[in-house]
Point group: C2
Chain length 414, copies 2
């Protein structure tokens, strides 16, 4: 599948893929990629996708702006096609008709971000880049390091000096060259862009590189294949809860459903609900105030994957929710922490950002913003192993006993 053209998400200017590499030259806004679905030669066949034996995002290669990069026996080819669970007890507790949890911890680097990095690395291979750079302390950096390692591409990651050593270690293990910048995330972000301009390194930054959303849209394709196309078309629309930090995930998922609609494979878009932590709610604030511009906040939340002062993809994140008749919901850190063992009890161990999406569903039901008769899917974006300190805070401590049957009997049966 080729790229037909690019458009600016704000001013609407149209560009060829040769004219623009990252953001709009006019206003600096994020670029939407438009695939060439039209010509008879490249028109994707729904049947051949559904019958494909490929169990990764690359089954959807005909819907992507980059070709399948090969490297079939590497982690790059093991991204996506994550499971959807239907936890019956949880569905009953919530009083829902239908509930799915999509478990993105099952990706190679244990988060949703592998989708974006896989497609960006595929694009880097296609355009013969030698070095890929990003500013990230978290899941995006780990995903980029993992995907670059899969194909032997050199990766450079800039992180603030204050990045937790545990997160930095994962990047280093994947062989990325990690450089700690004596400054904050925004300074690392700006330096990475300057470095791309100066040294010609390919830049993967979220909310800057147009191909991250193209990777993230694969989650929409899977939700369509696994859930949406099996639903009763006369039922209320599928509602999807998505954790929102910089806004790129919800923008990517929206783009995927748009693609499916422009192909005529779906008639209506699912309803997208963006969930933000109360302490990091820049996009939700704009939505609830009915504004188009997102004002930065001083973000503080336990959910570090969605802890964002200045969302880099806020405009499109607002559009995704408005155009699907969704809404934004804010949840407290306490509600986020409570959701970790709630999901754990059905066998799903999530990081706080993923728990936030579920907490958003709970809150939507409590505040009558969710029809319990509508089918619901929660996108759980990362593994609880990514933030074990939050897990420790989410559960009471275990009791200690003497190693005797009497002591055990007392603690179990009282």
């Amino acid at each position: 599948m080729g790229i037909a053209y690019f458009t600016c998400s704000i001013c609407g200017s149209t560009y060829s893929s040769q004219e623009v590499q990252y953001t709009c030259p006019r206003d600096g806004a994020n670029i939407d990629v438009h695939c060439d679905f039209e010509t008879a030669e490249s028109k994707p066949s729904m049947e051949s996708i559904l019958l494909s034996s490929e169990q990764s995002i690359w089954r959807f290669a005909p819907l992507l702006p980059v070709p399948d990069p090969g490297y079939a026996r590497t982690p790059l080819h093991q991204v996506g096609m994550t499971p959807v669970y239907q936890p019956e007890t949880l569905r009953e507790q919530l009083g829902l008709q239908q509930l799915w949890i999509k478990d993105e911890s099952r990706n190679p680097s244990a988060s949703f971000k592998d989708r974006a990095s896989a497609v960006v690395v595929a694009h880097a291979l296609q355009t013969q880049q030698e070095v890929i750079i990003a500013a990230s302390t978290g899941n995006a950096g780990a995903a980029m390091a993992c995907m670059a390692a899969s194909v032997g591409m050199r990766a450079i990651i800039l992180a603030p000096r204050t990045a937790p050593p545990a997160k930095v270690a994962q990047l280093l293990v994947f062989g990325a060259q990690v450089i700690l910048v004596d400054g904050n995330y925004d300074q690392a972000f700006d330096l990475s862009i300057a470095a791309s301009q100066t040294f010609g390194w390919y830049n993967r930054n979220t909310g800057y590189n147009p191909f991250t959303a193209e990777g993230k849209k694969t989650a929409a394709f899977e939700i369509w294949e696994q859930v949406l196309r099996k639903l009763d078309p006369s039922a209320p629309p599928l509602t999807i809860y998505i954790p929102v930090g910089d806004g790129n995930i919800i923008s990517g998922v929206y783009k995927g459903f748009q693609d499916l609609r422009s192909l005529g494979w779906i008639e209506r878009l699912p309803r997208l609900i963006g969930v933000q932590a109360e302490g990091s709610a820049a996009i939700a604030n704009a939505f609830l105030a009915n504004k188009d511009t997102v004002e930065p906040v001083h973000a503080v939340t336990i959910a570090d994957s969605i802890n964002v002062d200045l969302p880099r993809d806020g405009f499109r994140a607002l559009r995704a929710v408005r155009e699907t008749h969704g809404t934004y919901i804010k949840v407290s850190d306490e509600e986020i922490l409570q959701s970790i063992p709630t999901l754990g009890k059905v066998g799903i161990f999530v990081e706080p950002a993923a728990a936030a999406a579920f907490a958003g569903l709970v809150k939507a039901l409590e505040t009558c913003q969710q029809d319990p008769g509508a089918p619901v899917l929660v996108l759980c974006t990362g593994s609880g192993l990514k933030d074990i300190n939050a897990a420790i805070r989410s559960v009471p401590a275990a009791p200690v006993i003497e190693p005797t049957i009497q002591a055990l009997k007392k603690v179990i049966y009282g």
Copy 2:
């Protein structure tokens, strides 16, 4: 598939599945489960397995002693069919003809142990158990908690008081009732057995419950499907590197290949190499001294998943290696740590026990114990996210720079 009979792994006594629940009544040794492959009615069909659309261990249900438990949309049905990678650069560096890495971190609780726990929980469902108990601080406990949560079964886990809070938290998040015992692992193990006898709780302990090895044998079935049956039968045998702690993984993998041979689906067994940490080498010591009895050690290694004083399945672990013309290899903690970034550089993030298996391959090549012309597979048993402190120790610290292009240029280009 039903159970034909049980045999004691040491004295060879034969029992019906009604006569014995855990170990041999005569000598307390581990029990081998023999499936009923013989009757025309239950004879498994290779073709129907290979054509199955089921992408989990349950595709091999005809080869298991328990039926597929259902719960299709839960983590219980997402265990296994983990990817095998073929990292080209690593293969070249090692001078091997063929190299596969099987990545068990892609299981629901991010380790190989989900295989055992899935089959044990399926057996618990089949025999209508209400409570399942185990002594574990690590991957086995997490796997049992995750699988029990999948089906809403009550799980009780006994752990030594000294268990790291990060490991305990994962069990608690999965809703297991965790009880810390003021004693060591052996005391927790013994108390769990006494509790099973007193309260009737079903016991999952490794090296005690005969169904853990039946779960672990599914890795052999996958290696057969993914690798073995595609190899040139006239080539040297496939050699498999397996980390060994209590000995139950290598025993289970061996059992799987035995099953395949008794079905006539393979002619010769792969060569199994057990890799132990130098500081926890009870089974390797017995093998290298050509003894049948395994003497306990005071185990100290960074690879905590294979840090075992008294291996509970040592006899069968010796048998697995002897009968496949394999060997045992000991690796130092330093060699284990070095292997973490070596695997990371091809996109695979492993915990120390898994790195040990790879370190064993490196050492085998150095010491001429591995024919470079033979096909080799390394079983990487768990995710690096399980032990982030070891990851931190395995890589040098990242440099810190001022947020300027000049500083970045200097650190990259010197």
